[in-house]
């Protein structure tokens, strides 16, 4: 241990001992980043209204109250439906756009790319109000289709950014080779290009799904009634009082997100 402290940490000859404060500070910041989220998990199994940590008595009552509530169940179903549909709409559109811009190499491709990523730069609250206004005009407020359209706008740029950056390192002459051997343009894309950017496409699709699933503000304005999303109901519950059921829902959401990300990672590993 002592020897480790005196060993240089980098080639600039600073020792691990002199770096201790940095290690401590870095560790504290990492703790600050992960602890609050992780601590919710055991707390959700607490029997108390005040969510003790560590729980004095363990119980599943908050999970029961979640699964027994028709309102929470319907909201969960809406969220999954909206996220799946958003993913199914934004991913093909985003991939097609990214591929089209990359392959055509026209002069204004850059400008179109900027246009496609503008939703990332528009303040979310302003877009939420705008979407609400549009859907109110179309009498589509509180409809699943309206929510999916609005969420697709937010998901689209993420797909475009991820797929475009994967295409940057892709060599189009492979597709030309396939076509000179008799493959159609479509076949060349699906058999040669797509398999090589598959990881980016899956990542983009996952991002699209999570964007819709986690989104609060647009859902708050646009969804409601039968089609209220899980996050909308959670947000409303938070504004009133601290309902421990939300700890149970939060835990489940953390599990969903982590599982999806782990799957994407595994998928990426098997690719490479």
């Amino acid at each position: 241990m002592i020897r480790w402290l005196k060993r240089p940490a980098t080639a600039t000859q600073i020792t691990h001992g002199q770096r201790l404060w940095l290690y401590a500070l870095g560790g504290l910041v990492m703790l600050f980043l992960i602890a609050p989220t992780l601590i919710v998990i055991p707390m959700s199994f607490s029997d108390s209204q005040y969510l003790q940590f560590p729980p004095e008595t363990w119980s599943l009552r908050w999970y029961e109250s979640y699964f027994a509530s028709p309102a929470w169940m319907s909201a969960t179903a809406t969220s999954f439906k909206a996220a799946t549909l958003t993913c199914l709409l934004a991913t093909p559109l985003g991939v097609a756009a990214a591929y089209g811009l990359f392959a055509s190499q026209v002069r204004w491709a850059g400008a179109v790319y900027m246009a496609l990523v503008t939703p990332l730069m528009v303040p979310l609250i302003f877009f939420a109000v705008a979407a609400f206004y549009l859907l109110a005009r179309l009498q589509m407020v509180h409809s699943l289709a309206g929510l999916v359209l609005a969420h697709s706008i937010l998901a689209l740029p993420l797909v475009v950014v991820v797929v475009s950056s994967a295409l940057k390192s892709y060599d189009m002459s492979q597709e030309q080779a396939a076509r000179s051997l008799g493959a159609s343009r479509l076949a060349a894309f699906f058999l040669v290009t797509l398999p090589q950017i598959r990881f980016a496409v899956v990542t983009g699709a996952l991002l699209a799904f999570l964007t819709s699933f986690d989104e609060v503000i647009v859902a708050m304005f646009v969804s409601g009634g039968e089609n209220a999303t899980l996050t909308r109901n959670m947000f409303n519950a938070l504004r009133d009082q601290i309902d421990p059921t939300i700890a149970a829902i939060s835990t489940l959401m953390i599990i969903v997100t982590t599982t999806l990300l782990a799957l994407a990672q595994l998928f990426g590993k098997s690719e490479r």
Binding site: A11, I39, I125, V129, Y133, F213
Partner: protein
């Protein structure tokens, strides 16, 4: 491409034009692949935003008027909201630099495998739902929450502190949410600094602290700038966390927009605020894009 195959001389010359036209048509068809996405953007983003832009110039009597913008300049309550928004955004950005820089620096110095492991601590919250993280802080910071109980049982303070439903709660929550947006671009730019430069500096007799100050710090500035800009811009339009953790005491522009719609159904006022927010955001991003590639900012934290 097809026109590369077209010989410019000899008997094939008449084909050259046809080939070129084919190439251009193909280019156009490929470009057309982007059109469904563009149409969606025009219909669902550009159209209603343009509409609101128009509404912001329509007064309550239905004619053209600047009253919604004039009110922003005249009214004290609006001035306070803008000041709060800027203050909260600036403090959050500052705190993120203070906490994020050391961690990003540490991560960039660790061996790759170890760094990837530690980076999980940044990515896990980055991917976790905003609402879940805000809720976690609400639970931890409340009067009978974990922080107060531990603080009192350790004898640090005797009365439960009001940690949430005020400015401090808002700041804690916002720093927690924004920190990954600071660390990720920062880490990326630090990793890109060649170790040779640091070695050369040490070789020339600089002490580690001098190497850091004169070589590493200046080279990490673009990343720091990108991260700070991203955090600041995201803070300006932030809604969820201040709404939940601020307890109505910290009113930011975004919250005023929401109440203008939900409570007063005043589209003009909400639109005018939204336009100001949008112009501020785009202006900052545009200004910054002249110093660094925007792609890098957006790619750094793609959420």
């Amino acid at each position: 491409m097809a026109d590369a195959a077209a010989p410019s001389t000899g008997p094939a010359r008449p084909h050259a034009r046809t080939l070129r036209r084919d190439a251009r048509l193909e280019q156009l068809a490929l470009f057309g692949l982007a059109s469904p996405a563009l149409i969606l953007l025009l219909a669902v983003l550009a159209l209603p935003v343009g509409w609101l832009f128009y509404l912001s110039f329509i007064g309550n009597d239905g004619g053209f008027s600047l009253q919604h913008y004039e009110r922003m300049v005249d009214s004290k309550s609006y001035a306070r909201i803008f000041r709060t928004t800027f203050e909260v955004s600036l403090i959050t950005t500052g705190l993120c630099i203070l906490l994020g820089y050391p961690l990003a620096y540490l991560l960039s110095q660790l061996p790759k495998r170890m760094a990837a492991l530690c980076l999980l601590a940044v990515l896990l919250p980055f991917w976790t739902s905003l609402l879940v993280r805000t809720y976690a802080w609400l639970v931890l910071l409340q009067r009978r929450g974990l922080i107060n109980e531990w603080g009192m049982s350790l004898g640090l303070w005797s009365e439960p502190l009001a940690l949430v439903h005020n400015l401090s709660g808002t700041l804690i929550g916002m720093v927690h949410i924004m920190l990954p947006f600071m660390i990720l671009p920062l880490y990326g730019s630090m990793r890109a600094i060649p170790a040779d430069l640091l070695n050369a500096s040490a070789n020339l007799g600089a002490r580690p602290s001098e190497t850091f100050r004169h070589v590493f710090l200046p080279l990490s500035m673009p990343g720091l700038f990108a991260g700070s800009l991203l955090v600041f811009v995201l803070c300006l339009g932030f809604y969820v966390t201040p709404a939940v953790l601020g307890g109505g005491k910290v009113i930011m522009v975004s919250m005023r927009i929401a109440t203008d719609i939900e409570l007063f159904v005043n589209w003009g006022a909400a639109s005018a605020l939204g336009v100001v927010l949008l112009v501020l955001t785009l202006g900052l991003l545009y200004g910054a894009s002249r110093f660094l590639s925007l792609d890098r900012v957006l790619g750094g934290g793609s959420r």
